[in-house]
């Protein structure tokens, strides 16, 4: 299990190394304007592992158990080791900061594709409900 503990402790410190400054991009200068991109960052990971132990008997202790004798784990036998993990992350533009000699202003960035997709789904949801209500009302009148 030492290998797992080392792996997990290393994974655990990875996220601490990602600085909050990653949210703000490098300032870009265009003439007398400076533009700073701003993003939302999210990431995560998970991992799990295990070492098989001596084979047990599922019905052990039950009256009519016909299970084979359980092998004693004296530590001399090597049991199979398994593990798995995954990680993912995303960065999404949220806004940009524009600095000019007149002042600073924040311009939000709208993800039009997501809004359009959500709008289509909302429209379909609304049409479905209106259809269901009208159908029910007219069916009962008839």
């Amino acid at each position: 299990m030492e290998a797992f503990e080392t792996l997990f402790s290393r994974l655990d410190t990875v996220s601490e190394k990602v600085s909050v400054d990653a949210v703000f991009g490098k300032p870009q200068t265009y003439g007398d304007r400076v533009v700073i991109p701003v993003a939302e960052i999210a990431y995560g990971f998970g991992a799990r592992g295990g070492i098989a132990s001596a084979p047990g008997c599922a019905c052990e202790g039950e009256p009519e158990c016909e299970c084979e004798a359980v092998a004693e784990d004296d530590g001399s036998q090597e049991w199979p080791v398994g593990g798995g993990g995954g990680a993912g992350g995303k960065a999404r533009p949220v806004a940009y900061i524009e600095v000019t000699p007149e002042g600073t202003r924040v311009q939000p960035i709208v993800d039009e594709q997501r809004i359009a997709l959500a709008g289509i789904l909302l429209g379909a949801w609304a049409v479905g409900w209106v259809g269901l209500v009208l159908k029910t009302l007219f069916t009962r009148r008839a």
């Binding site: 299990m1 797992f4 503990e5 997990f8 994974l11 655990d12 996220s15 990602v18 909050v20 400054d21 990653a22 949210v23 703000f24 200068t29 007398d32 400076v34 700073i36 701003v38 993003a39 939302e40 960052i41 999210a42 990431y43 995560g44 990971f45 998970g46 991992a47 799990r48 592992g49 295990g50 999404r92 949220v94 806004a95 900061i97 600095v99 000019t100 000699p101 002042g103 600073t104 202003r105 924040v106 939000p108 960035i109 709208v110 993800d111 997501r114 809004i115 959500a118 709008g119 789904l121 909302l122 949801w125 609304a126 409900w129 209106v130 269901l132 209500v133 029910t136 009302l137 009962r140």
Partner: protein
């Protein structure tokens, strides 16, 4: 089974020099951490810019950084829930009136 530990905090970022102004950013950090003894772990982190304070000379100005996309999606979700609730109310009322 132990529930995931969550932490939400606002952290000040490194000041950014932009032209004649100095920007002091602040970031919302949301962290979740889950460990299964010594056999596994799950961890996620979400970083989102909250605001920036622009300093020039003696004056300082606070600017909020809104997440317009998330706000619009939330309002759409609320609208969808409202449509569903209104639909259910109409169907229930119709059913009750029909029984009478």
């Amino acid at each position: 089974m132990k529930l995931p530990e969550q932490q939400i905090r606002i952290v000040a970022g490194t000041p950014i020099e932009a032209g004649s102004q100095r920007l002091m950013p602040s970031v919302l950090v949301q962290e979740g951490h889950w460990r299964w003894g010594n056999s596994g772990l799950y961890r996620y982190t979400r970083l989102r810019a909250v605001s920036v304070v622009a300093e020039s000379g003696d004056a300082a100005e606070w600017h909020e950084i809104p997440d317009v996309t998330a706000q619009m999606l939330s309002s759409m979700l609320v609208s969808a829930a409202a449509i569903g609730v209104v639909g259910i109310v109409i169907l229930v009322l119709s059913h009750l009136l029909h029984r009478r």
